[in-house]
Amino acid sequence: MSFELLALALLGGLLRIGPPLICAAVGDCLTQRAGRFNLGLEGVVPCTAVLAALGGQHGAGIGVLAAVAGGAALAGLHALCCSLPRSNEIAVGIAFLVGGTALARFVGDGQLAVAHPSLPQIDLVVEAAGRSHVLGLSWLLLAALAAAVLIHWGLRATGAGLLLRAAGQPGGAAALAASGRSQTLLQLAATSAGGAFAGLAGAHLALFHPGGWSDGLGAGVGIGAVTIVFIARARPLVAVLLAAGFAAIVAFGLALQVALGTGGYHLFSVLPFILALLVMGTARRRPGRA
């Protein structure tokens, strides 16, 4: 087993596992910047994956559109519930987590054998161990990376970015109201946008190799993204790097299994979660929202 093939397997795994996490994390930066904590993302991602698999039967583009629209709608519903008086965003998030996961499993149950198209991708040809291998680089990943740069710039340099940041600050509601704007509406928009990006994540899960719907698809993506963004303090470029790092760890476990036949894939798949808990456990205590 050569080092080359291990690196190849790692890269292939990274290109498959990374994009959903990166897409969901980039969108969640908007949500958390606006002061919303959407734990329900964990339920939204599997739902959008099912939507993408269903819509994808009429073409990959329709699948992506269905997933993005569905994600935005579900996350918007979450924001709507949160904006009602006396509601608790964590409790609403848990309801969406459980409800969304159940809905995805229920509707997706019959979709196992459904043929699905693949997203258009750029084929990277890599020479390794005397053979050329084709790795797919999905357009969705490039779109998410572009969006991350755009959001990074927009949050700093535009009026809309300023408003969004204001919505997430303590006392932001009053400041926004004084300038004739509504914190609730801003948070609704930001949470929906986060859901739309979660839709991209779902679309990638269902329409990129190997694709299709299987039980448990998308588990851990939503909560992973929310945790990454929390650790990155909602900075999109940092979130992208963290998400790529998380995915690299999982891909490494997979590559080891493929290349060397070692076990331990299960542990590698949750190692990012353990690291996140360690980071949160050793970081200096932050005042306010935990």
Binding site: L39, G263, H266, A290
Partner: protein
């Protein structure tokens, strides 16, 4: 004020009715869209959960772990903690119990099974308590992350070093010794009396003891609780440990009474369904019993839907999810509705 109390009761009843109706409508819609006979499915659901001796046994078999996982969520919730990772404690302690009880025969096997489960679960969720009290990490996030870690850890161990060579397609640990197996009475889950007892004890402790008063105070107003001399940090850790112990007892009982071995297949969602049980019970530990039976009925009824109508395996989870969202949405009317009812009475 009796008027106020009556308004509160009316409000609770109205919200419960509205949530049930909303969930029912949601189910009819989902069933119709996915091509199931919507109204016929309700009959199957009812017969499959309460319609026969077999159905009742199924309902109570599912309700037994839910009594404990429901308590594991409802108890810390009274102290203001949203510990939602009972699933993780459940599978970890099932594994610990199965491993501990596999090699020992005799009278000590059963206490060892239960003790290992309770300890493993308590230690597992104790991590969340420490992270919360020492580091301010939200317990909902940490317990959920740990639930994934637990399932992966169990999968890793049971597919690896702890695998029973005799288990083929569904890897499990070696079966526990016969002395650790709990019998059943008339086909009922042997853990049922323990679960019921735990609920009643929890009710007595929360509603009628000094400790319970401190707990409720810390949940309602942590600043006031600190001022009153309650160590909220220690209470936080204690509640997470207790939550883990209860979920751990559920996991150990599941191994002792039903599965007789442990594996990733035990992660059937009893921990997550426990959140729904706690949500329905709304902080009343006696109500956990009724809520667990209700959710157990959905589990049993979902099985019947699958058998008789060919519905998806996730039917029970689907109904639970709908009920969950309906309760959260309708619960937002709490407060204003009672005020409106009170004002209407005053006008009369």
């Amino acid at each position: 004020m009796p008027g106020q109390r009556r308004a509160r009761r009316l409000e609770t009843a109205a919200i419960a009715a509205a949530a049930s109706l909303l969930a029912l409508l949601g189910w009819l819609l989902v069933a119709a869209v996915t091509g199931l006979p919507a109204f016929a499915s309700l009959g199957v659901l009812l017969r499959g959960s309460f319609g026969s001796g077999f159905a009742l046994r199924q309902t109570f078999e599912a309700a037994t772990p839910l009594l404990l996982t429901g308590l594991a969520v409802a108890l810390p919730a009274r102290a203001g903690l949203l510990v939602i990772g009972a699933e993780g404690a459940f599978v970890i302690s099932a594994l610990a119990a199965a491993v501990a009880a596999a090699w020992l025969d005799g009278w000590a096997a059963l206490p060892l099974l239960l003790g290992a489960g309770v300890l493993a679960g308590a230690a597992w969720l104790g991590i969340c308590g420490w992270l919360k009290s020492a580091r301010g990490v939200h317990e909902a996030v940490s317990s959920l992350l740990l639930a994934y870690v637990a399932v992966a850890l169990v999968s890793h161990l049971v597919e690896g070093v702890l695998r029973d060579p005799a288990s083929f397609d569904r890897p499990t640990t070696a079966p526990i010794s016969v002395d650790a197996q709990l019998g059943s009475w008339e086909g009922l889950h042997a853990g049922l009396p323990l679960g019921l007892l735990a609920c009643l004890l929890a009710y007595a402790a929360v509603s009628h003891s000094r400790w319970g008063f401190g707990l409720r105070l810390a949940g309602a107003n942590p600043a006031a609780a600190r001022f009153a001399g309650i160590d909220v940090g220690r209470l936080t850790i204690a509640m997470c440990v207790l939550s883990g112990a209860l979920a751990g007892l559920a996991g150990a009982l599941q191994v002792g009474a039903v599965a007789h071995s442990a594996g990733p297949a035990l992660a059937l969602g009893y921990g997550y369904a426990g959140i729904l049980v706690a949500m329905i019970a709304r902080g009343d530990m006696r109500a956990v019993i009724a809520a667990a039976v209700l959710v157990g009925a959905l589990e049993a009824g979902g099985g019947a839907l699958q058998r008789e109508l060919g519905a998806p395996a996730a039917s029970a989870k689907m109904m639970e999810g709908l009920l969950f969202i309906a309760i959260v949405v309708c619960g937002c009317a709490r407060g204003p509705l009672a005020r409106w009812l009170l004002a209407r009475e005053a006008r009369r």
